[in-house]
C-alpha cells in the first residue's frame, strides 16, 4: 500500500509539471501573448510596457518565466494579469460553488445512469430499451449552453420555479443552496447520464453471457439476485473508473459551460474568464488544480477498484 501511495505521488508531480509546462508553452506561442500589453492598458506607452516587462520578468527567458510563475502560484503570490486579484483567493472563493455542483451532479448522474443502463439492458431490444436509447442519444448531444438556456427561460424566467442563476453557500441557507443548484445539477448530469447508461448497458449485456452468471442461475437464485449480486456487481467496475475521472474534472473546474450559463462564480467560470482575457497565471493555477484532482481521484478509483475486483492488486 505504501509503495502504491509513493508511486502515485511521484506520478502526480510528473503529471502536474508536464501539464503546467504545456499550458505555459501554449500561451507563449499565442500572438500578442505578452501579458505586459494587457496589464498596461490601451493607452500605454512603450516605456510603460517595458517597465512592466522588467517588473514581472516578461523579458526574461521563457524557462525563467515558467519557474517564476510556478513559484508565485505555490507561494500564493500569483496576481491576475488582467484583474489584479490574488489568484489563490479567487480560486478559494469559487471552490465551494464548483464542489457543490460536482458532488451533487456526480451523485445524480452516477445513480441515474446505473438505473437507466440496467433497465435498458434488462429490456434489451424491447420498446423501453429503444426509448431509453433515443433519450440517451439526445442527452449526449445536448450541450449545456443550450439545455441551460432553455431551462432558465422556461423554468426560471417564465415559470419562476427556480432562480435564474447564481450560487448561495450551504452555510448561508441550505434551502437556497439546493434551489440554486437544481438546474445546474440537472444540466450537467444529462450529458453524462446518456453516455454512462450506454456504457453500462453494453457491459451488462456482455456480463450476462459470462459462465458465472449461468452458474448463478443454475444455483437456483432468482433473476433479481442474479442481476444485482452477480451481473451488476461485475458490470459496475468500468463505470466507477469513468466516474472518478469525470468527477475530478468537474471538481477541478471542468464544467465551464454549466458554471457560466448559471453564473455560479465557480472555478470553471473563473477559467472561462481567464481564457478570454489571456490571463495565463490564473489559468495555470486552475489547470494545476484540475490535474491534482484527476491524479488524486484516479488513485482513489484504483483503490476502490481493488475492492470491487479482488483479482486486482495495488502493487
Amino acid at each position: 500500500m505504501s509503495r502504491f501511495i509513493v508511486r502515485r505521488l511521484l506520478a502526480m508531480i510528473a503529471v502536474m509539471i508536464a501539464i503546467s509546462l504545456l499550458t505555459f508553452l501554449l500561451f507563449a506561442a499565442i500572438p500578442n501573448g505578452n501579458p505586459a500589453n494587457r496589464l498596461a492598458g490601451h493607452l500605454a506607452t512603450p516605456e510603460e510596457i517595458h517597465l512592466l516587462d522588467i517588473k514581472y520578468g516578461f523579458n526574461k527567458p521563457i524557462y525563467v518565466q515558467y519557474v517564476k510563475t510556478m513559484e508565485n502560484i505555490f507561494t500564493g503570490q500569483a496576481y491576475s494579469y488582467s484583474q489584479g486579484f490574488n489568484v489563490l483567493t479567487e480560486i478559494k472563493a469559487g471552490f465551494p460553488a464548483t464542489l457543490s455542483l460536482a458532488l451533487g451532479a456526480g451523485i445524480i448522474w452516477l445513480l441515474t445512469s446505473i438505473a437507466v443502463g440496467t433497465l435498458a439492458a434488462v429490456k434489451a431490444g424491447k420498446y423501453t430499451d429503444r426509448v431509453l436509447t433515443v433519450l440517451a442519444m439526445t442527452g449526449v448531444s445536448m450541450p449545456p449552453f443550450f439545455l441551460g438556456a432553455v431551462l432558465i427561460y422556461y423554468l426560471a424566467f417564465k415559470a419562476g420555479i427556480f432562480p435564474t442563476g447564481g450560487f448561495v453557500p450551504f452555510s448561508q441557507s441550505p434551502y437556497q443552496w439546493f434551489v440554486h443548484l437544481v438546474l445546474p445539477w440537472f444540466t450537467l448530469s444529462v450529458l453524462f447520464i446518456g453516455f454512462y447508461s450506454r456504457v453500462l448497458r453494453s457491459t451488462i449485456l456482455d456480463t450476462i453471457n459470462e459462465d458465472y452468471v449461468r452458474t448463478a442461475r443454475a444455483k437456483g437464485l432468482s433473476e433479481r439476485q442474479v442481476l444485482f449480486r452477480h451481473i451488476l456487481r461485475n458490470s459496475l467496475i468500468p463505470i466507477i473508473s469513468l466516474w472518478g475521472l469525470d468527477l475530478a474534472q468537474v471538481i477541478g473546474g471542468g464544467a465551464i459551460l454549466t458554471e457560466t450559463v448559471y453564473n455560479l462564480h465557480g472555478v470553471g467560470q473563473l477559467a472561462a474568464e481567464a481564457i478570454s482575457a489571456l490571463d495565463i497565471i490564473t489559468l495555470m493555477a486552475i489547470v494545476l488544480l484540475t490535474a491534482f484532482f484527476v491524479v488524486f481521484l484516479s488513485a482513489v478509483v484504483d483503490i476502490f477498484y481493488a475492492f470491487l475486483d479482488p483479482r486486482i492488486r495495488l502493487s
Binding site: D211, R217, A218, K219, G220, L221, N234, D309, P310
Partner: protein
C-alpha cells in the same frame, strides 16, 4: 416409487432457436431415461446438441428465441413446461449442474465460501450463515479440498483449475441433489486432474446415491464411469444402450466411427488415426433423412427417410439405434481391419 422407476424421463425433446439465418434445430428428438443412482453419459461431438439437452433440463436455454417440444418428466413435473419459479427451486436443489470451464464458472468477485453459502441459503431460507458455512466446510472436505475452512475465504482466482472444479462439485452437492448434470466436467482440465475429478464423481455416486448425467465428447471418460451411454449426432440420439452394448456391440455407423477413432496403446503408430470423414451438418439446414447420410459410407436409398430409434434385438430392448441397415449387414460392415470402425469411403466402393 419402485427402484426401477426412472428418476428422469426425457421423451422426444426438441429445442430450436430462431436466429437471423433461420431456425437452428439444436436438439431434434432426444429420448432417454435415467434411474436413481445411475450414471448416464451423453456422448457426441461439438454441436451435437448434448449441452443444449443438458441445459434445457435445467431451464437454462429458455429465452425469447427458443422453442421447445417434448417432455422431461422429473418427480412428476415436466421440466420443459414448468414455470420459472418452480424451476428455480429445482435448480441447485434436486437437480444440480457442474459446468465445463471451472476457470470462468465461479464469480470472480466473491469468496468461494460466500458462493457456496449463497446456494445453500437460496434453498433453505432458515439456515443461519454460520451453519451454512459449516456445511460448506463439510462439502469442501468431501470433495477433497485441503484446509477447507481457510480456503473458503479465498477468491476463485486463488484456486487452480482442478480445485475450482472441486468447488463447483461441492456447490452442486450442497443441497443433496437427486440428479447431478455434469457438462464436460473434465474437458478443461489436464489429464491427471481429469482422473481425480472422475474419481470424485464416482465416490459421490457411491456415497449419495445421486444419479449423474455426464455430458462429454470423450469416450475414455465414459468407459471409466458410465452405466449407460446415449450417443448424439446432429441433434438426435443415434444409439443408446449399456456401456457393454455400446462398446462391444455398437449398431450405428456413427458409433463405429467414434470407437474406431480412439487412440490405442497397442495400435500401429505408422498408420494415421482413423477419423470420420467430412464434418457435421449445419443445424440450420440438416440433410433430409438420416443426418449422418452425407458422411456415411454405408448409406443407401432408404437413408433419405428419418430412421426410427428402435431396438435391434428383442433380447436387448433398451439397446436402441437409429439406422436403416439390418442387423446382419451391420455386424459385417462394422469390422474394419479386424476391429470396429467406420470404413473409409473408397474401401466400400472397391
Amino acid at each position: 416409487m419402485s427402484a426401477n422407476a426412472p428418476l428422469l424421463e426425457v421423451s422426444d425433446l426438441k429445442v430450436s432457436f430462431a436466429t437471423e439465418d433461420g431456425t437452428v434445430r439444436a436438439v431434434d428428438g432426444v429420448s432417454f431415461s435415467i434411474r436413481p443412482g445411475e450414471v448416464v453419459a451423453i456422448v457426441g461431438e461439438s454441436g451435437s446438441g448434448k449441452s443444449v439437452t443438458a441445459m434445457t433440463l435445467m431451464g437454462l436455454t429458455r429465452g425469447p428465441n427458443a422453442r421447445f417440444e417434448g417432455t422431461a418428466m422429473f418427480a412428476g413435473r415436466d421440466l420443459v413446461t414448468a414455470p420459472e419459479s418452480e424451476l428455480q427451486r429445482i435448480r441447485g436443489g434436486d437437480i444440480a449442474m457442474v459446468f465445463q470451464d471451472p476457470m470462468s464458472s465461479l464469480d470472480p468477485v466473491y469468496r468461494i465460501g460466500n458462493q457456496i453459502v449463497e446456494q445453500i441459503r437460496a434453498h433453505d431460507s432458515h439456515i443461519s450463515k454460520a451453519a451454512a458455512l459449516d456445511r460448506a466446510v463439510d462439502l469442501m472436505e468431501r470433495v477433497g479440498v485441503p484446509h477447507a475452512r481457510e480456503r473458503l475465504r479465498s477468491y476463485p482466482h486463488e484456486f487452480s483449475g482442478g480445485m475450482r472444479q472441486r468447488v463447483m462439485i461441492a456447490m452442486a452437492l450442497s443441497c443433496s441433489p437427486k440428479l447431478l448434470i455434469a457438462d464436460e466436467p473434465t474437458t478443461a482440465l489436464d489429464v491427471t486432474i481429469q482422473a481425480q475429478i472422475l474419481e470424485e464423481l464416482r465416490k459421490l455416486r457411491a456415497e449419495t446415491g445421486a444419479a449423474i448425467i455426464l455430458v462429454t465428447h470423450d469416450l475414455g471418460v465414459v468407459a471409466d464411469i458410465a452405466d449407460r451411454i446415449v450417443v448424439m449426432y446432429s441433434g438426435r440420439v443415434v444409439e443408446q444402450g449399456t456401456l457393454e452394448e455400446l462398446f462391444y456391440d455398437p449398431q450405428h455407423p456413427y458409433t463405429w466411427g467414434l470407437l474406431g477413432s480412439i487412440m490405442r496403446v497397442d495400435s500401429d503408430r505408422s498408420q494415421r488415426l482413423p477419423a470420420i470423414p467430412g464434418s457435421p451438418p449445419s443445424l440450420l439446414r440438416p440433410p433430409a433423412g438420416c443426418h449422418l447420410r452425407p458422411r456415411c459410407p454405408h448409406a443407401f436409398e432408404k437413408c433419405t427417410e428419418v430412421p426410427l430409434l428402435k431396438a435391434g434385438l428383442a433380447a436387448a430392448p433398451e439397446h436402441l439405434d437409429r439406422c436403416w441397415l439390418d442387423r446382419e449387414q451391420k455386424l459385417k460392415l462394422r469390422t474394419v481391419d479386424g476391429r470396429i470402425g467406420l470404413a473409409a469411403p473408397s474401401e466400400v466402393n472397391a
